[in-house]
């Protein structure tokens, strides 16, 4: 698979995320994908490292169950032969109340030889996220 193919895959994933189409996202993942946000804590339902497609479902379920995504604006996508890195503007509101929280996201994806995503790490302002969710729950 080419770098352009990998970028196209990420663009498809972002479009699928926007319409809540998790199955399309799962179809782009390797069977033993290593997937997680760069968060050591447990302050959000989507935190934690997931292995394999079945566990990745929990990542998206966690986002959908606890937040309403208000903004997902992909600012740029760059690639190497087998990696895609992106920079995104993101906004969410906790379900059940709370103001919209805005931040930047940074994504890193690594692809296997079959063009499937083998490794993902996404970085966010974990302190801001945790405080926003805790504030809404309080």
């Amino acid at each position: 698979m080419s770098a352009a193919d990998n970028v196209a895959t990420i663009q498809e994933i972002y479009e699928a995320f926007g319409r809540g189409d998790v199955n399309t996202i799962l179809g782009k993942l390797a069977d033993d994908v290593d997937w997680g946000p760069d968060a050591a804590g447990d302050g959000a339902a989507w935190y934690g490292i997931r292995h394999g497609r079945d566990e990745v479902v929990d990542f998206f379920d966690g986002i959908a169950a606890t937040t309403e995504v208000r903004e997902f604006d992909v600012k740029t996508i760059a690639s190497t032969d087998n990696e895609v890195l992106s920079f995104i503007r993101y906004g969410f509101a906790p379900k059940g109340g709370g103001e919209t929280t805005s931040m930047n996201l940074h994504h890193y994806f690594r692809f296997d030889d079959d063009g499937k995503i083998a490794y993902y790490r996404g970085s966010e302002d974990t302190q801001l996220t945790t405080n926003a969710l805790a504030g809404a729950a309080a």
């Binding site: 290593d34 760069d38 968060a39 992106s86």
Partner: protein
């Protein structure tokens, strides 16, 4: 300036960071550079938006005075025509609390037409950083698994 020269600039910046050579890093910045960690709070001395080279110095002073950097490994660098994105492994020990943390960093750099940095955003596990500096390490496991 080309994408290749921009990547070379970032590689030079990373090397200078390892050597504590802030002047080389500042020389790569535009006069009105917009430089920040993606952190809404100011719990770490290097957090907060900085504008211009003089303020960027405070970013590096904040890191240097409060932490000992024990790992700074560039895993990947990718570029567009005027941007560079990077993914790194990073470890530090807090000088005040004595606690250590390991995490990934994600960097976004945008260059102006003269090949100078005009916009920088660095993302880290802010909750883990704040807890480590405060002597309250996070309860869970590291996201750095490979």
């Amino acid at each position: 300036m080309t994408a290749e020269s921009n990547v070379a600039t970032i590689e030079r910046i990373y090397k200078a960071f390892g050597e504590g050579d802030v002047d080389t890093i500042l020389a790569a910045c535009s006069d009105d550079v917009d430089w920040a960690t993606d952190a809404a709070s100011t719990d770490a001395p290097w957090w907060g938006n900085r504008h211009g080279k003089d303020e960027v110095v405070g970013f590096f002073i904040g890191i240097g005075e409060s932490t000992d950097v024990t790992e700074f490994e560039v895993v990947s660098i990718a570029s567009t025509e005027n941007e560079v994105l990077a993914f790194l492994r990073y470890s530090f020990t807090s000088r005040q609390s004595g606690e250590s943390a390991r995490m990934h960093l994600h960097h976004y750099f945008r260059f102006d037409h003269e090949g100078k940095l005009e916009y920088v955003r660095s993302s880290e596990d802010t909750q883990l950083v704040a807890a480590t500096l405060a002597g309250q390490p996070a309860r869970s496991t590291s996201a750095v698994t490979s």
